[in-house]
Symmetry: C2
Subunit: 122 residues, 2 copies
């Protein structure tokens, strides 16, 4: 049975258009034999944000630390530790760090979508 | 897009054999339209534990607060905040609070198993 301290997992910088100051740790994923969904840990530096995008699979998110805003369709909603979020498939979304400390959250995805395509970062 | 503060979600006591001092909050589940997996928040009181059991679906767990032990096949492993766990299908497991404060963790499950059976508590 796998037990892994999240801060000990190597963080990978996200180098895609629209991302600023974002790093990702895969805590439990396909490489560990996860059959259905993957648990990823994101850190967004102060002043940073994830890309504004949508995709054909859902996110389930849990805010661990820091403060931020979820942007969707021109509206922003404040985020704080302990908030749980469901981002349905095809909903446009962006996570923005609005504070002075890192924004840290879990973001889980299915390991595949569209009848078997591996989910990026899973 | 659903944003829900976890502590504001109603907690339900777990009344099954082998559980002591355990309550459950479904943060994101089938009732919210989650298509693949469900995010649940568990609180185990000091002196409490989850049932020692196994089932035909996986858990992905993230320890939020407190201290505990994962029991498996006569072996115990210490748990602390920030630990991520993968409990594969059919592995026997039990979570025990070994501290004086509540043990809090996220435990995610697929929303169904065995080709469509709804997962309990999802």
């Amino acid at each position: 049975m796998l037990i892994r301290q999240s801060e000990a997992v190597e963080a990978r910088a996200i180098q895609i258009d629209g991302a600023k100051g974002v790093s990702l740790r895969v805590l439990v994923g396909s490489a560990d034999g996860a059959p259905t969904f993957a648990m990823r840990h994101f850190t967004v530096a102060s002043g940073g944000h994830t890309p504004r995008h949508s995709h054909n699979y859902e996110h389930e998110v849990f805010i661990l630390q820091g403060s931020g805003r979820l942007e969707q369709d021109g509206k922003g909603q404040a985020l704080k530790p302990g908030d749980a979020l469901f981002v349905p498939p095809n909903a446009t979304h962006q996570f923005i760090n609005t504070g002075s400390e890192p924004l840290k959250f879990l973001c889980l995805v299915p390991t595949s979508f569209d009848c078997g395509t591996p989910t990026p970062g899973s």
